[in-house]
Symmetry: C2
Subunit: 207 residues, 2 copies
Amino acid sequence: MTSRDLPAPAATGRRGRRPGGDDTRGVIIEAARSAFAAKGYDRASLRGIARDAGVDPALVHHYFKGGKAELFAETLAVPINPAALVERIITGDPDRLGWRVIETFLAVWDAPERRETLTALIRSSMTTDESARMLREYLGREVFGRIAAATGVSDPELGGALAASQVVGMAVMRYIVKVPALAEASNEQVVARLGPVLQHYLMDNEA
Amino acid sequence: MTSRDLPAPAATGRRGRRPGGDDTRGVIIEAARSAFAAKGYDRASLRGIARDAGVDPALVHHYFKGGKAELFAETLAVPINPAALVERIITGDPDRLGWRVIETFLAVWDAPERRETLTALIRSSMTTDESARMLREYLGREVFGRIAAATGVSDPELGGALAASQVVGMAVMRYIVKVPALAEASNEQVVARLGPVLQHYLMDNEA
């Protein structure tokens, strides 16, 4: 936030020349998070994000050479480090792993700025290939894939995908479609009902 | 289909006058199904649907006084009568109800023209209130709400909503986001994994 007070870079022609700083990068990510939440993935533009961040568009390209897709991933990765999430989940009583998964998800989701970004990701994953890829790769592989791989469940890829499907379906029906019984349920109720299901997908070798 | 051969109605000014017929209504629904599948809920227009059906737009309004929302519901209701689905599911061995739910859903989903319409419904329910309402009311209340109400499970509304969330989440990850392990799983594998979960949500009184 403090770098909003930095002098604005030259308007054009200095691609990659400005040294920038850690907080400039952070300001761009914050502007991107707001833009994705407000406009969705497709309608947010790098130019608009640069304007909101008070920086030259070239600076956005300098920091995020992967463009909009990389910047979108960053808006998720900064508040939610997948490796730390997974570590937190796979450590502890294996008989309660399913419950920790949904507790952790709800704790992540409950911060308003993340909820908006995650809602935008789920929404746009229905219509744009880039966001669908992000949901597959981020939630499917980095989060649920790693958990399932750590538990020793048979067919961890399918188990991880099924666990992701239940968590995404819950988020869709609770936060986006707002089915009354699920929208009004407490986090504790959701944990009590989804815990054994996620345990089944991620730990049971029976099926 | 045969009413495509009927004489076209007068172009304007005859709202509600033309007697029409059962098959005219059917032709409009078929045109609507194609339009929703091709364009999504928001971009499909009643005018365009009337044009595709070869009828006056006033005739569409005559048959579907609830406008686009009613017509959309009709495109789902015709091939999938919720009452018949529910009857099929709640009849039979109560210990296998969860498995019948997912078998029935996959059988419904597997007809290509329905898959397109249902995919369009799920997609548009993320972004438009009308479609979200339809998903809540159709899948949440008419299908899963009725099943849960019939089983005598405690808190049938939450149980029904959770079952709907797992089925919608599975459809999202299998057919839209296409997480590889779930996209490539056989229907039999999906039934084997989701059956006990839906049984838990719809039948277990433990939680």
